[in-house]
Symmetry: C3
Subunit: 266 residues, 3 copies
């Protein structure tokens, strides 16, 4: 696998932005592959929240060019015997702990190879028990960017670990029962109900209605500005998923972090 010199490496971590962790990670990558273009996606994944990391990874995936390397460090099991993996999906690469981070990616796209990182030639000489982002993942990324093929890092893995998360909604005749996957910075609730699933349930001319915990919210709108500021609405968000939002307001404060979201076609 040849790489062009200006390889893109994106970072998704729960390291936060007040410590030296992000800085050390970047330094190790640049020490091995000085020409990569490092792109911060987020360092504010909720600490140890693998679902949050998995969601962000899945959402940014289609928007980066082939050969991009995404590094995801949300690693509550650091120091245990969980593996570090390198995987390829749709021509882009991911380097991450094998703890379910790739769940949504793996569900939606065919894997083009997932390998376990075992060859110590590609880690730092001294691997700490608590900072595999710096000591394993960063040098692996550096070597990948410098042209080392995935299979060089270790044996192929049958399947990565997957989270036991309700990623797909349950569909019963004229009702879709979904749940909340993510709450964004604006307080918008992103559900696991997809546009295509709604379209499949809705017959021509029939209008779907959305319920939050069995309370009617209303129809599915096209945009925030279809309702007045402060009013809540359901809409298909930019990720193609049903969202519950408040125009210029905060839906999580109104509805909470969890609950059953239903789409009913009457």
């Amino acid at each position: 696998m040849e790489r062009r010199s200006m390889c893109i490496v994106t970072l998704i971590t729960d390291y936060g932005t007040r410590d030296y962790y992000v800085g050390a990670l970047k330094g190790v990558i640049l020490g091995i592959a000085p020409d990569v273009k490092i792109v911060d996606i987020t360092h504010d994944i909720e600490p140890h929240n693998v679902v949050h990391g998995a969601f962000v990874l899945r959402q940014v995936w289609p928007w980066y060019p082939p050969r991009t390397i995404h590094v995801v460090v949300v690693d509550p099991g650091v120091g245990s015997d969980r593996r570090i993996i390198v995987g390829q999906y749709a021509g882009r690469l991911v380097v991450a702990p094998d703890n379910g981070i790739v769940t949504f990616l793996h569900h939606d796209l065919p894997a083009e190879g997932v390998y376990s990182v075992e060859d110590r030639r590609f880690t730092l000489p001294c691997v700490s028990e608590t900072f595999h982002g710096r000591d394993v993942m960063a040098p692996v990324v550096g070597h990948l960017a410098a042209g080392v093929a995935m299979r060089e890092f270790g044996p192929e893995v049958d399947a990565p670990e997957l989270l036991d998360v309700e990623y797909l909604p349950r569909i019963e005749a004229n009702v879709i029962h979904g749940s909340i996957l993510h709450v964004d910075r604006f307080g918008t609730l992103v559900t696991n109900i997809r546009r295509e699933q709604i379209e499949a349930v809705v017959g021509r001319g029939r209008t779907p209605e959305v319920l939050v915990n069995d309370v009617l919210l209303g129809p599915i709108h096209a945009a925030f500005c279809d309702v007045r500021p402060g009013e809540s609405l359901a809409m298909i968000g930019s990720s193609g998923l049903l969202e519950i939002a408040v125009n210029q307001g905060n839906a999580v404060e109104r509805f909470g972090h969890s609950g059953v979201i239903s789409v009913v076609v009457r």
Copy 2:
């Protein structure tokens, strides 16, 4: 308009840093113009606060080299019929929703052309109702960086939308009546009163005094260290605007977010 290959693109958004929004925006830009240098200015504009975004945009403007492209995404009206504009001021470009974001820029510098983005060849094929940063502004930036001229994107605009904000203080004989434009991370209050306005009012040998809500604060100091830690002071800040600060402390906790700031020459 020719561009050099290593074009600078800066980002000012209210997307925050825990979601996929910034990551998707960057990916779309890099997919079209892989050689641009993306510079994060801030993603922590207060959600939907157009004045905050307009202030930061104005303040960074003079410090970037010509041909820099500044993208500002603070877009409470996304999905409405508000336009996306590309504008040029002093040789630098801005891509933003036409919602007043360029107000302070437009006030202080001559516009060298403002165009409405309407040609769908330069957006993503599928434009969502809620994420024009990714679907419209990012591809426009990519194409601008790749050498497309502003006028290619759509018709010229007579004037961009401007905010109804008290950008200029009211000057009456020996008094300047101003207000607070911005509160910075240190809690310093940045007013709309400019150094030159104070100099114009002050005669030779006369000393201006600063009042906060009609209570005397004191003279205008040269630097924080002119007062003791914990003491408040007025000074001309790095933006050339009068600021109310507390040495090694927090002025907004002491004086609040709003109020009348006066400079009196007795």
Copy 3:
């Protein structure tokens, strides 16, 4: 001192991420040296907390390649007569206020030259009293990256200012008395007790125990996962320093920000 064109410049500041300060700093650097690669380490140093900045600087130092320029702006004395310095340690450069920021670096590595920035050819023409990051440090970094030698900026300094901080623990026979240097985003307490100091005190076969404020915490573990989620533990962290942590939890909430940390060999 020749520099390659793609020089790495890292930023460690307490500017936060909601103002224009970081943006202006980056713009000035890129205006002078457009080809540098700017790397954000953190802008969330606690405001005016020089120890926090000094700790992060020390921790990232070994991970960046030679000729990297680290800029550290934590500057409570801006506008006073404190100097701006350029220093070299182990082939990397630092540009910072002379207020103790380099304390831990200076303690651990031999200085290869520290110079006071005095030549106004290398600052902006107009230097404000409150923003030396933009007006002095940024242009100095630009000129350093463009190939200007350290000695060009001003006279050599005998020694930089050093903080009066308990950087080294006190060792008495079979006890090491340490303190907390840093609290990280996960709430982990990083102490000033080093792995080698523990190894020197511990004889073969004897097991060290850790006390927090004279209360026994337990032995030193190898990794978080040696204890159950929610349990606290002592371990050697990724920086080679003794840390007090809670597996998937928060140690500072349990133990507070300060206190005496002891390692006892019985």
